[in-house]
Amino acid sequence: MSCTGPGPEEAGGGTAPAPTFADLLEDSPEDLYDNAPCGYLSTLMDGTIVKLNDTLLGWLGLERKAIVGQLRFTDLLPVGGRLYHETHFAPLLRMQGEISGVALELKRADGARLPVLVSGVVKYGSTGTPLLTRITVFDATDRRAYETELLRSRKAAEESARQARADRARLQQALAVLQQSLLPSTLPEIPGMEAAGYYHTASPDRLGGDFYDVFPLDDRRFAFFLGDVCGKGPEAAAVTSLTRYTLRAAALHDPDPVAALTTLNQVLHERYSGVDPRFCTAIFGVLEPSPDTGHVTVLLASGGHPPALVLRAAGTADFLHTPGGLLVGALPDPRFSAATTTLAPGDTLLLYTDGVIEARTGPDRSSLFGDEALRAFTAEHAGSARTVIAALSGLLSGLGDGLDDDTALLALGVPTPASTSASTSAPTPKNTP
């Protein structure tokens, strides 16, 4: 980026002794200086312009006599450029003796600005004192346009990236709201009972096909359900949402578990009959606490769902079988099977989706966890609703990629009077003073 013409003050210097072909074409150093494709100017060390070429004069649109001896180089610059000249250009030039490729703007007579690239070299006398500065000026209009275009494209790219980030944030917010419509953010306080839930979704958009809920029916009874919608992703999530609100509304109308599942079946079958059947498996139940005994009667019905587990205070676990119940929504006239049990203090009812019994375990992730393994594991960790959910969630998170399906767990337990004290409910006994 430097102009290799002859020095301005030497422009009238000696001629070549033996003309070559190039000399024949460029036979006049004055012409070469004045009409070079770049601007030349020379200044004294105080910046006063002593010489400049026609090219630069033409760019500036000024008379030579208005410049030479009258103006300093900085007078050609707008305010911003003048500042930059004083703080960078001039000090660097003094220090290094040269500077190259500095982007500046020149003021033209008509008020327009000319983007330029400026290089300078200090010429020293024989004693090493700086005598003058030689400056070349290149028209950088095209380059500036190119840079502006680059800048514009970068801004456009940044803008679309910002837009994409904003869109993603909005989408995530929408998904979070939808997710809330699929699962309760917290379980309600059930007098005399303890409820705990766990949810894992394998879907990257976090819209799962498993669901559960617990809600009051009246001032005494609570209803609960847990289920699994066939399929994955947004389509399954839409069915999940429909299922959840249908069951909630149906239960308020008629809390009988078989009646609630029958209503859900009618709704799903009507909505999704045809070539794309959608269905779910679910257990729906009602909790009826008895204030006198502290026991809770559970009446539930299953539509094609794996049987609930009942964990007893004594450390046993048994399936509460509901054989023959058909999945919900697939067929016009299904049968659902009901079952009942009573939970005494220390007992817990556990509902789960098949993600847990189909979790892959073992070193090669090839064997299924299985319902018998689940029963045995929960028997070991019976105690309270929170204890068994904590133990199972620990087990499931330990499986990592072995858990390739959505999984939901819901535990409803009757606490023992002693389990409210930290020393007995904690997994490891604590020293209490």
Binding site: D228, C230, G231, L326, L331
Partner: protein
Amino acid sequence: MSPLKITAEDGATGPVLRIAGDLDHDTAPELRGLLPTIVLRPGQSLVLDLAAMPFCDSSGVSALIAAHNHALAAGAGIALVAVPANTLRILRIVGLDQVFAIHPDLATATRAG
């Protein structure tokens, strides 16, 4: 994971579909798409031979229900043949073992029709 191949033939009691390969989220639409082309007369039975189906997930179950609905709409019955143990376990859990006629082999199924 084995790719799905469905072959159709006429049996004594109606069409027989041999389903070879996994019936899952990716392949179930093939079976579902094939159903409208299967012509059934009232009183016939649509037989699905599952002897060579190692895996069936909930999407596969959904396709089996679609086959059931197709047969029902035509006034025909539906039967499953040689259901592998893992699939039979799923069908029992979701109650579909009461909805489909289930036979150990093709000869029994086509005689029963």
